[in-house]
Every structure is written in structure tokens, then in C-alpha cells.
Amino acid sequence: MSTLLSVSGIAKKYDGKRVLSGVTFSAGQGEAIGVIGPNGAGKTTLLRIVMGLLRADAGWVRLDGEPVASALSRVRAAYFAGESTLPPTVRVRTWRRLFHDADDFGENRPFRLLSRGTRQLFGLRTLLSVSGIRMLVLDEPWEGLDPDASRWLTEAMRARRDAGVTIAVSSHRLHDLAGVCDRYVFLNRGIATVVTADAVAQNGMVTGDSLLAAFDAVRGRAR
């Protein structure tokens, strides 16, 4: 499996406070990485650094062997940071047509008139229907989704992963992450610990509980 995404020694401070320190991991083609951590652990910051939206104070991110800023023009990558990043006045169909000519959902109200979960779903469906994507970066994608939409998202991510798309996804919903990811980046006080799904698995399966147990072990917290 060739490496598509390499992250090495990423450090980031906000207002003098360390958010990330020496974060290192890599992801091959068709590999899914789950980013786990408490609120404020730096998950969003890490994913935005991966996408070149934020600059790291130290370390580097390479995509297909090239610095991310220049690689993104060659390597198609999709990023979604949640429904709050969808412009509220834009209509669903207009938004989709910025990405592709694909048929619409029959919904054409402005995003602000939709429920939070519906906005999240349309944002994800728009992104996941773009063809040719090699890397998918999703920040809390299950947030606000109902059970059917959650199941659709999990299956869509698995299908893309199996088709060779590299995925980096953060979530608090450990049971959803457990079904998708091959490796996990545990973020705790800015420090990253990378564990494989095999290491997390209990009785041969990765579950939300086994992920939480592994994260607790990393944090030195007994359950």
C-alpha cells in the first residue's frame, strides 16, 4: 500500500497554548485514519493543517510525496468541516452545481431553512458524489445525522475506502469510527498516539467500547 498522506512532527500553538505537539502519522491509499480526542484536543486544527488551511508551527504534511499546498492541485481531495460551514443563503441545488452536474436531490431551499441534520446530510452527499477524489477529510461527519443517514455515511465511507480513497475522519462517535477505520490517532493534550485497529480489537472486533478502552489506556485512565 503506497503512502498518500504523511504527517510528521506537527506542532501548533494558539495564543501561546500548545494544541498539537509532534503529531506524526501516515495513511496509505485505501486506508482510513480515525482521529479521536476530547473537545479542544486539536482534532479540527490537525485536519485543517492536513488540508493546508492552517500552517503548522513545526513539522510538515506531504500528499503523494509533495507539500500539501502544491499537491492539492494534482491530488483531488475533499474536505468537510460540518454543516455550519455551508453558506446559509445558498440553495442546495446551486451549491451542488458548484461541484458537479450530477442530478439534484429534489431539494432546493436555502441551507438556512433546512434542519441541522439535513444540512449535514446534503453537505456530505454533495461531496461524496464528486468523482475522482483520492483523499477524503471529514470533521465530525456523523454529527446531527439520523440513524439512516449515519448508516448511509458509514457505508459510503467504507465503499470509498475499499475503492482506494484515503480517509481521515474525526469523530466523538466511537462506534461509528470503529466500523470504518484501519488506524486511530488518539489526541491527548496535544500528543498523538497512533494505534492500529488490530491493537484496539477485542475478540477480533473493534467496537466503540474497545476504542474507548484503548483511548483510556493511552490517557492512563482506568475505567
Binding site: 479540527t44 486544527t45 485543517r48 488540508m51 493546508g52 488551511l53 492552517l54 500552517r55 499546498a69 502544491s70 499537491a71 492539492l72 492541485s73 494534482r74 491530488v75 483531488r76 481531495a77 475533499a78 474536505y79 468537510f80 468541516a81 460540518g82 455550519s84 460551514t85 455551508l86 453558506p87 443563503t89 445558498v90 446551486t94 451549491w95 452545481r97 458548484l98 461541484f99 458537479h100 461531496l127 464528486v130 477524489i133
Partner: protein, 234 residues
């Protein structure tokens, strides 16, 4: 991932308010009426468009960017300078279109040459670029509002305005005079809609265009180097 141009994306995601479009249409109609009634009054016809452009060009970039509205275009690998160019075009396009329509109206009534005079175009360039660059880190139209406040405050201090106008009434005789004239036009580009002697000086116009280029470069640099962190909605 985004298949449309930066300009189209930014016009869709952060469009000018509807009332601004209505105001531009009204100012064009008013300008056309002014020119029809008095073809010599080119500057009044252009003045209202320039005033609206002061607010319209101050499109505000940081607000929508920090809410993540521009994420999709920022992760396409397009250069940030291209995105900055798109932002400049999206913010200034309505005013430029209105300006061109008024110029065409002026041409129809036989005043095309006066309306297209170089110093009048410099006025549009100054207002567009300074309001755009000055407004990047501010809420939409805030730079235009601040600029208008400075002009009103200057107009209310009568003696100050008198001295200010005197600078541009005579052609520049030395570099400091030229600099003062260029600065006066930059602070109040509406003076360029008159036929002041200093506005005929290529040195003064060159200095103002250099200033417009510099603020545009600073705006490009701001967009290129900015950190795109997310601010959670309230």
C-alpha cells in the same frame, strides 16, 4: 473539487446584498436621467456609483472565511492569489458594471470623452481597491462606512477641508505638492470627479495608481498568508 471559477464561487457563496444591486440600478437610472437633463453633469452621474462602490467593494473576506464558507475553494489547490483575484473581482464587479453603463449613457449624450477621462477612471480604481483591501478583515461594508465617516468628519471641519481642496486646485510644482495632491485624492477620490488641476498631472495619477497597486498587493498577501481557522457559530 470545485469546478467553477473562483469568481463564480465567491459570487454564489458571498454575494452582494440584494439591496446593493437595487441601489446600483437606481444610481444608474439616476445617472442616466441626470445626463439626459444636463449632459455636462457627468460627475454627478458618476458620483452616486462611486459612493455605492465604496460600500460594495468592501466585501469582507475574513468573516465568511472564518465560518468555513470558503473551505471548498481553498482546498482545491488553486493558488491563494487566484482566490484573492476572484475576491477582488466579485467585490468590485457590480460597481464596475454600473460605472460602465453610466459611461455608455454619457457617450450617448455626447460626453463620452469627459466621462472616460483618465482621472475619473483612477477615482474608480482607488475606491475599488482601497475599499476592497481595507475591508478584507472587517465585516461587509465596514471599510466603506469607516471611510465615509472620515470624509464626513473632514467635511464638517470646514477650515481643514478648505486647505485640503487648495492642494488639488493648482498643478503640482514640486514633489511634496504632488505627494500632497495624490494623498488628497486617495483620501477623497470624489475630488477626481471634478476638474481640478492636480488631477491632470500624470505624476499625481501615477502616485495614486501606485497606491492602488500597493493596497491590492497587500490584500492579496493577506488572503495568501491568512490562517483559515474556524470560528464556531454563536
Amino acid at each position: 473539487m470545485i469546478r467553477v471559477s473562483c469568481l463564480r464561487f465567491l459570487l454564489v457563496v458571498s454575494p452582494p446584498p440584494t439591496w446593493m444591486g437595487v441601489a446600483f440600478i437606481a444610481s444608474v437610472l439616476l445617472g442616466a436621467l441626470t445626463l439626459w437633463l444636463n449632459p455636462r453633469d457627468v460627475d454627478s452621474a458618476l458620483g452616486s456609483v462611486l459612493l455605492l462602490q465604496m460600500f460594495s467593494a468592501s466585501g469582507g473576506f475574513a468573516g465568511p472565511a472564518s465560518r468555513g464558507y470558503f473551505d471548498s475553494i481553498l482546498v482545491t489547490g488553486r493558488s491563494r492569489r487566484r482566490i484573492a483575484m476572484g475576491s477582488l473581482a466579485a467585490s468590485t464587479l457590480p460597481g464596475i458594471v454600473a460605472w460602465i453603463v453610466v459611461l455608455m449613457c454619457a457617450a450617448i449624450v455626447g460626453r463620452g470623452a469627459a466621462a472616460a477621462a483618465f482621472h475619473r477612471q483612477v477615482a474608480l480604481v482607488l475606491v475599488s481597491t482601497i475599499a476592497w483591501a481595507g475591508g478584507l478583515a472587517l465585516p461587509r461594508m465596514a471599510a466603506g462606512g469607516l471611510w465615509a465617516f472620515v470624509l464626513v468628519a473632514a467635511a464638517l471641519s470646514r477650515s481643514g477641508v478648505g486647505e485640503y481642496l487648495a492642494v488639488v486646485q493648482s498643478p503640482p510644482v514640486d514633489p511634496s505638492h504632488a505627494f500632497a495632491s495624490a494623498a488628497a485624492f486617495a483620501v477623497c477620490p470624489y475630488l477626481l470627479l471634478g476638474d481640478f488641476a492636480a488631477a491632470k498631472s500624470m505624476v499625481v495619477m501615477g502616485a495614486d495608481l501606485l497606491l492602488a497597486s500597493t493596497v491590492t498587493w497587500a490584500g492579496f498577501r493577506y488572503i495568501a498568508r491568512r490562517e483559515y481557522s474556524l470560528v464556531e457559530p454563536a
